[in-house]
C-alpha cells in the first residue's frame, strides 16, 4: 500500500490546503476590475476583539480589524 502519493508542492512546503486556497482567492480578488475589487475587499474584512484571560477574568481586549490578510 503506497502512501507515497505525490504531494502538492504547497503541502511539501508545510502549507495546509486552507492556507493555499485562501492565498489563491486573495490573488484573484486583487486582480479584479474596480467596482468589484472594492466590493470583494470590503466583503472580506474581518474585525475581531481578542482578550486574554488571567485568573478567571478577562484582561483588556485588543481590537483587530485587519483588511484581508492570510
Amino acid at each position: 500500500m503506497a502512501s507515497t502519493a505525490a504531494v502538492p508542492f504547497w503541502r511539501a512546503a508545510g502549507m495546509t490546503y486552507i492556507t493555499y486556497s485562501n492565498i489563491c482567492a486573495n490573488l484573484v480578488r486583487n486582480c479584479l476590475k474596480e467596482p468589484f475589487k472594492a466590493e470583494a475587499l470590503n466583503r472580506e474584512k474581518v474585525h475581531f476583539s481578542l482578550s486574554k484571560w488571567a485568573g478567571g477574568k478577562p484582561e483588556k481586549p485588543t481590537l483587530r480589524s485587519d483588511t484581508p490578510g492570510v
Binding site: 512546503a13 486556497s21 492565498i23 482567492a25 486583487n30 476590475k33
Partner: protein, 203 residues
C-alpha cells in the same frame, strides 16, 4: 444494575458486529436495521428510557440512483458568501480539476475532484457561462447532481488584464529570489494563479 447493562450491551454488540463485519450495508439501505435483541435487553434493564439512537437512524437514505440516465445535470455552485447556482438544470459543466479540464455530463461516474485555478463553464443549450474559479472542490453524485464549491469565482469580464500581468511578473521575480521553502511555495502559487488568469483571458 448498570454493570448488568454493560454486559448485555457488549454481548449484543459483539453478536451484531460479527454479523455485520462481512455484510456491510450501504447507507442507501441502512435506516431500518434496528437490533431487536438489544432493544429488548434495554427495555428489561431500563424500561422507562428510550433505547439510544444510533447514527444510522439519523441519516437520511442516500438519494436513489435513477435506473436510466437523466437528461439534465443539476448543478449547485456555491461560494462562501453567495449561492451562485442552486439546483440549476444544465446540459454540461466543464470544471478545472487538478487532473485537467473535466467535462461533466448527466450520468457521470461519482467523483470528488479537487479544482485548480481555472475556468469553469456551464453549458445550457447554446448558452455558455464562464467563471474563473480560484480553487475548490467538485462533488459529482450518482444521481447526476453536481455540487461545486469554490472560495472565489468571478466572471471573466471582471478580471483586469493589466493587474494580472503585473502580478505575474511580480511573482515570477519573487520565485527567482525566494529563499525559504514557504516563500518558494507562495511565489509558485502566485505564478500559477496569475498564469491561469492570463490563459483564461487570452484563451
Amino acid at each position: 444494575m448498570f454493570r448488568q447493562a454493560s454486559r448485555l450491551l457488549s454481548r449484543s454488540v459483539a453478536a451484531g458486529s460479527s454479523k455485520s463485519a462481512t455484510a456491510r450495508a450501504f447507507s442507501t439501505e441502512v435506516p431500518s436495521t434496528i437490533d431487536s435483541t438489544f432493544v429488548e435487553s434495554w427495555k428489561k434493564v431500563a424500561p422507562n428510557m428510550d433505547p439510544p439512537q444510533t447514527p444510522s437512524s439519523f441519516m437520511k437514505p442516500r438519494p436513489s440512483t435513477a435506473s436510466s440516465i437523466p437528461t439534465k445535470l443539476t448543478v449547485n455552485f456555491v461560494l462562501p458568501y453567495a449561492s451562485e447556482l442552486s439546483g440549476k438544470e444544465v446540459d454540461m459543466v466543464i470544471i478545472p480539476a487538478t487532473t485537467g479540464q473535466m467535462g461533466v455530463l448527466p450520468g457521470h461516474v461519482p467523483t470528488i475532484a479537487e479544482l485548480k485555478p481555472g475556468i469553469m463553464s456551464v453549458h445550457e443549450g447554446t448558452d455558455v457561462k464562464k467563471y474563473f474559479v480560484s480553487s475548490g472542490f467538485a462533488f459529482l453524485h450518482a444521481n447526476s447532481v453536481a455540487d461545486i464549491i469554490a472560495v472565489e469565482a468571478v466572471p471573466l469580464e471582471n478580471i483586469d488584464p493589466s493587474q494580472v500581468q503585473k502580478g505575474l511578473s511580480e511573482f515570477t521575480q519573487k520565485l527567482a529570489s525566494a529563499a525559504t521553502d514557504l516563500e518558494k511555495a507562495e511565489a509558485q502559487i502566485g505564478v500559477e494563479v496569475h498564469s491561469a488568469m492570463n490563459a483564461a483571458l487570452t484563451g
